[in-house]
């Protein structure tokens, strides 16, 4: 089919879009960005727009709930996992573990005997997730690609099993009555209205994009790219590969923790079944499909993975099957994803392994 053929060609219409944007005069760039940001803040209202609404609205579930329960989380997770897999080239299959740590931290500190306000729970979740990232990374980042993948997978499962086996984490029944963000002014974080959650979440997304862009264009981003492209050569060029890999893990984990924390406070209750292995693989599919290493690519990927099963009923019960197959198809036909990272022809890291 021509659709797939088009996918397989090494076209770069997306890059041209990016380049054309970069070529605009400063004022134009700012106004265009402001316009886009405003439009995206208003995403919960999109189903009311004539043609766009028909395309985007999700039959059977309220769009704004899909937006805040799933799309938002997947975008955040995709951004975080992209730091680990896309920037630094480390295949992490247990990312759901960081997501779970963030969610459970928020759950435990806001619903137990000693309750903290939500405003304290979020940073605490981030810190706990980062600690988890460092704990996981320190012994395992010495391992090469395949082994790292298996071990991180184990980590995700260990987190889930631990939550399942520990009463203070709610055991199999989980934790409920998780606090919501405090309502102030026109923003009421209640059960009925999902929109304030989106405003909060999208703001967080914008912040993360800002921080990650900074990182990408600094010596840190360069170090990650060097590690990804040829770790041994990078080390011989003076890059402290272990330190930067660990930072990638920590930052990725922090973002995962944020996503988990927001998820917990939005849905109000969590249990270990929310954090299964398949979710890790779905997260990976979001990054790979969207474009490993490309921030806007993985945002698109996160959106697609979360939205398509809700928009098309044929996908809803089969989403894991679908995205499993999608992973294979992408690897075979278009490993760089829908929106490739800048400079990427082949996509996934080409690690040099020959003897010098």
């Amino acid at each position: 089919m021509s659709l797939t053929k088009a996918f397989c060609q090494r076209t770069a219409p997306q890059l041209q879009l990016g380049n054309r944007f970069r070529a605009l005069p400063r004022s134009a760039k700012w106004s265009l960005s402001a316009l886009l940001i405003a439009a995206f803040y208003l995403t919960p209202y999109w189903p009311d727009v004539p043609v766009l609404g028909w395309i985007i609205n999700t039959p059977g579930t309220s769009f704004e709930n899909v937006l805040t329960d799933q799309i938002m989380m997947f975008i955040l997770v995709a951004l975080g996992l992209n730091v680990v897999v896309g920037f630094a080239g480390l295949l992490d299959l247990g990312y759901v573990g960081f997501y779970a740590v963030g969610a459970y931290t928020t759950a435990v500190v806001t619903s137990g005997q000693f309750t903290l306000p939500w405003i304290a729970a979020l940073p605490l979740s981030v810190i706990m997730a980062m600690i988890a990232g460092v704990i996981l990374g320190t012994p395992t980042l010495r391992l090469r690609g395949d082994y790292l993948a298996i071990v991180t997978l184990g980590f995700g499962e260990i987190i889930r099993i631990t939550a399942n086996n520990s009463d203070w984490l709610g055991g199999p029944r989980g934790i409920s009555k998780i606090a919501r963000p405090p309502s102030f002014g026109p923003l009421q974080f209640g059960v009925l209205n999902a929109k304030p959650y989106w405003y909060l979440g999208f703001t967080v997304i914008l912040l993360i994009i800002f921080v990650l862009t900074r990182l990408e264009n600094s010596r840190v981003g360069r170090a990650w790219a060097a590690v990804r492209e040829d770790e041994d050569a990078a080390e011989l060029m003076g890059v402290d590969t272990f330190k930067f890999k660990l930072w990638a893990f920590a930052i990725g984990a922090a973002i995962g923790g944020i996503a988990g924390s927001l998820y917990a406070s939005k849905v109000g209750f969590i249990n270990p079944d929310n954090f299964q292995l398949q979710l890790s693989i779905l997260f990976l599919a979001a990054v790979v499909l969207g474009g490993t290493g490309s921030m806007y690519g993985v945002i698109m990927g996160g959106f697609l993975v979360a939205w398509i099963p809700e928009r098309f009923r044929g996908f809803s019960t089969r989403r894991y099957f679908v995205f499993g197959v999608v992973l294979v198809l992408v690897m075979v036909f278009r490993p760089q994803g829908i929106i490739p990272r800048r400079g990427a022809a082949a996509g996934i890291a080409q690690k040099g392994e020959s003897d010098v």
Partner: protein
Amino acid sequence: MSHWLIYRTFWDLTVSGIVLGLIYALVALGYTMVYGVLRLINFAHSEIFMVGTFGVLISLTKVFGISLFDGGQYPYRSGFVLVAILVGSIVAAMVVSGAGAVVLERTAYRPLRGAGDTYGAVVLAFLTGLIASFLFSDDIMTNLAIAAVITGPVAFGYVRIFRRGRQAPRLAFLISAIGSSMAMAEAVATWGPDARSVYNTPRVLEKKVLFNFLGADIRIDYVIVAIGAVLMMTSLLLFVNRTRLGRGIRAVAQDAETARILGVNVNSVILVTFLLGGAMAGGAAMMFTLVYDQTRFNIGFLLGVKSFTAAVLGGIGNIKGALLGGIVLGLAENYGSSIFGGQWKDVIAFVVLLTVLMFRPTGILGESLGKARV
């Protein structure tokens, strides 16, 4: 107090640990051989095992027509009929798993080696069509129909793309493996009659206790597993060490490029490696259902990780290592869960894996891997 319990049940744990370990070892063989030949962790091998268990289930219930309960009792058989059924079920499992492994190789790995062929293109085209059909309908019959129609032209296009084949980087293989693994497990979960619940397999063998050894009951199913596993592994070793094809496998495992130059058909060797690994997993699948009488869509995952751990523990790429690793892991799990509690059993394997990879990545018998080469 737990020390006393361990003492009382020590031989029990040992015996069942060895049996469990042998099953791990059989599955570990698939991981270790594919790794030896392709330097790839075949993440989807766990689903090859799972598919084999369903092969057993289908052969028992549909082909042999045995129902789960015969008027409130287990459908025990005996004598010649029993032997025929057991042999039939293991053959079915080996065929299903072997075929699954071959399809997997052609579809998910061969295109990434730049050697994609028509069979792989057809399977991929069919899957593409199936997924595309989900955009329009959620009725499985419609989906299959649309997929069947689309497969032809799409496969044609895929074959042409394959001609420009290029070797993909290592990470791509692993991602493809993960995707295949999930796709296979979820296919069973979505379209199997019992979805995500446990499927019971008919118990045709009455699990009599044959004799008692130092306080441990030696059941007949344990004996069958032990004998069967040893037989299978011995045959595999003989094949790899004595036959021409086996020599080809060892050559490719040591140096694929040189083997190719010397005339070894590397693609055939890889295919046979997958086939053998799949057959071993099929054997393991039959033995698993024999002992545990059940299966599930995700039975592969946990067992797969444990078997992989066993392979690494024994030394990845080393066939005898897989046997040793399997038994050690089986024992460790049993002893460990009696000390720490059953709910932590699965964590033990992960901990073992992490420990081995960090402190002795060579495994007990194997060679060193993962050193930086500059």
